[in-house]
Symmetry: C2
Subunit: 377 residues, 2 copies
């Protein structure tokens, strides 16, 4: 099957010796090239669907765009010039969302995997791969006794980290959002590339980054925040996440990696649901974390006194950084502002970070790139 | 966009506090569930496309199946009971191949990413995740001076491998086929799960497995084996692959991991293009490899005397295992038989492995599961 599609795409015409399967017919169509990134950073998206009545492009951070059909049944649209970045997208054909079948670059997600396009920019952008030294990304699997399932986490080690050497590193726990999986921060967020670049430029201290699966109650992915057991499910999702992080992931990481174990060398940050998790887990465990950050945090619905009953100005002596970022076009900006007002009313020092942008990875890559230089200073 | 698709799928109805983006309308359709694996191991595939004239299922290892449309515009087909395994598949709607938009499990490929379905089987199947200890998968990145690009490789370390411990392990170099990438053996082949299980059952010695990107001339992915520079391109693809493996990957692995460095503790195996690479790299570097295996090897077109000019019965003293496997329904079976005949004519000892099956990952998972217990004995 793979090779049938391969032939269809028409990039190659393989000879018999190289073709593992027999083909009944040659491809009858010319290949669809999609996406095509132009020199001015506009992008043409193409999708063949002769019988569709209407096809739209859903591009991350943009309103959906109507595509136009040519006489070959290929729908296309060209965007305005885009900021260099990575963008998720999908096609919507007569109401059905579809991945781009001409593009191998996926944006994984537990519910709605989509496609990704790279609009390349200057080497100075933190998420562009440069010819500097690269760290490694390690994928670990374990059975969680806390949650009762098989799960995973990723670990980034910086360039020059050598299992045989002796230096120990500070460690950042970096959390994904709903409904990403543990691969979100590397496969979409490009965290490993960002750290490679910032470390090479000496803007960021060499560190280890741990990216765990962020669900304490994984059934929340299927049942959603609006499940019948609404409040119980959300609460269990947070509580069990904190518990597996503190009692399972951190001990495993500290056993397998050369990381420092004092609170001044341990940070926690996350986006959306993971932002809420870093605030809850971090601010309620200040004996473990001195550096706490959230990007576009969700779940900031005004019950702060009950979520953080003991938090007050005394925490300032322990918190090295409390960094709360949200895009001004994000519908979560209000909850974030409310939370910061509440922190202010409690006398808890923090950084207010409002940036352009909505609830997108373009915002979160920049958040991470701006946060990293502040850590462990 | 991710959340719009999320709502469309209709698995959840999130409340305002959890919804980062505003929605104009509730979803107007019921969700499509696909794939649905039944108790008897038959699988129903579904795909909504009201305006398509014809939709087919392309399932790995099977002939394409016509799907039928219901009055909601949802096409479906139910397979006969399938052997428990992982299967790649895609839909073909009016000639256009598409990933299943209802399924997050992808089968990555540099040219034609498709979807995957898991037909679960008994815990005794080597690719089923069990509650035993799990190894880790490490993703490394480097700039290849040999090829002149940024590239990657994956490393599996067995359960109990601890960077701080002292034991050293034998190492298998395991190569993917055309047009997979370095993730093929883990994301599709489930090599890490297979080794976890075989090691837990003491069927396989604990080992380190290195899975490099298999292209010495990466332009072959775009240009194909039938490019104008046909012979030169293939040759360069093999030669530069061998060179980056021997002079870049192996030294990096031996620096970073606790692996044994003598030839008796180094194996090489691969599938399809990677099978050809393991035979060429292995048999021409017997000072480096004592264990050599190919699964459904390609490029066995009869020029064996020129590819292996010095290979003869003297090699038997060095080769601990030469294991040549191919499915009897694979169109490459003839080349494999020819090669084994040629080996016989040269007096080179080897194992002839013919199995049921075609050019599929179902064959290669079984090949790996059967090979692993033979290594390093």
């Amino acid at each position: 099957m793979g090779l049938r599609r391969f032939m269809r795409i028409g990039l190659v015409a393989m000879t018999a010796a190289a073709v593992p399967c027999a083909f009944a017919q040659p491809p009858s169509r010319s290949p669809v090239i999609s996406p095509e990134v132009h020199d001015d950073h506009s992008v043409t998206f193409r999708f063949r669907d002769p019988s569709a009545q209407s096809v739209k492009l859903n591009l991350e951070g943009a309103k959906s765009m109507l595509m136009e059909k040519d006489d070959q049944g290929v729908w296309s649209v060209t965007t305005p010039p885009l900021e260099p970045d990575f963008y998720g997208y999908s096609f919507n054909a007569d109401g059905v969302n579809l991945i781009d079948p001409s593009n191998w670059m996926m944006k994984p997600n537990l519910i709605s995997t989509s496609s990704q396009v790279h609009v390349p920019g200057p080497a100075s952008l933190p998420w562009e791969v440069n010819d500097n030294a690269h760290g490694a990304v390690h994928h670990h699997f374990y059975r969680s006794a806390v949650v009762g399932d098989q799960r995973d986490y990723f670990v980034y080690t910086p360039p020059g980290y050598n299992a045989k050497a002796k230096q120990s590193y500070p460690v950042l726990y970096l959390l994904h959002g709903f409904s990403d999986d543990a691969s979100g921060w590397t496969a979409v967020g490009r965290a490993n590339v960002i750290f490679d670049n910032l470390i090479a430029q000496e803007k960021c201290k060499p560190l280890v980054v741990v990216m765990p699966l962020g669900y304490g109650a994984p059934e929340i992915v299927k049942e959603g925040f609006g499940a019948p057991d609404h409040d119980g499910l959300r609460q269990r999702n947070f509580d069990k996440f904190s518990e597996t992080l503190l009692s399972e992931v951190i001990p495993q990481v500290e056993e397998a990696y050369r990381v420092k174990k004092d609170r001044a060398d341990r940070a926690i940050a996350g986006l959306s649901m993971g932002g809420a998790e870093s605030l809850r887990t971090g601010l309620r465990n200040l004996d473990r974390f001195a550096w706490i950050a959230s990007f576009s945090a969700g779940e900031l619905a005004g019950t702060f006194d009950s979520v953080f009953p003991t938090l007050d100005a005394k925490a300032n002596a322990q918190i090295r950084l409390l960094w709360i970022a949200c895009g001004t076009d994000d519908s979560l900006i209000k909850g974030n502002r409310n939370f910061r007002e509440w922190l202010k009313s409690k006398g808890v020092n923090h950084e207010d970070i409002e940036t352009p942008g909505a609830h997108t990875w373009m915002v979160w890559r920049r958040n991470l790139s701006n946060l990293a230089p502040l850590l462990f200073r």
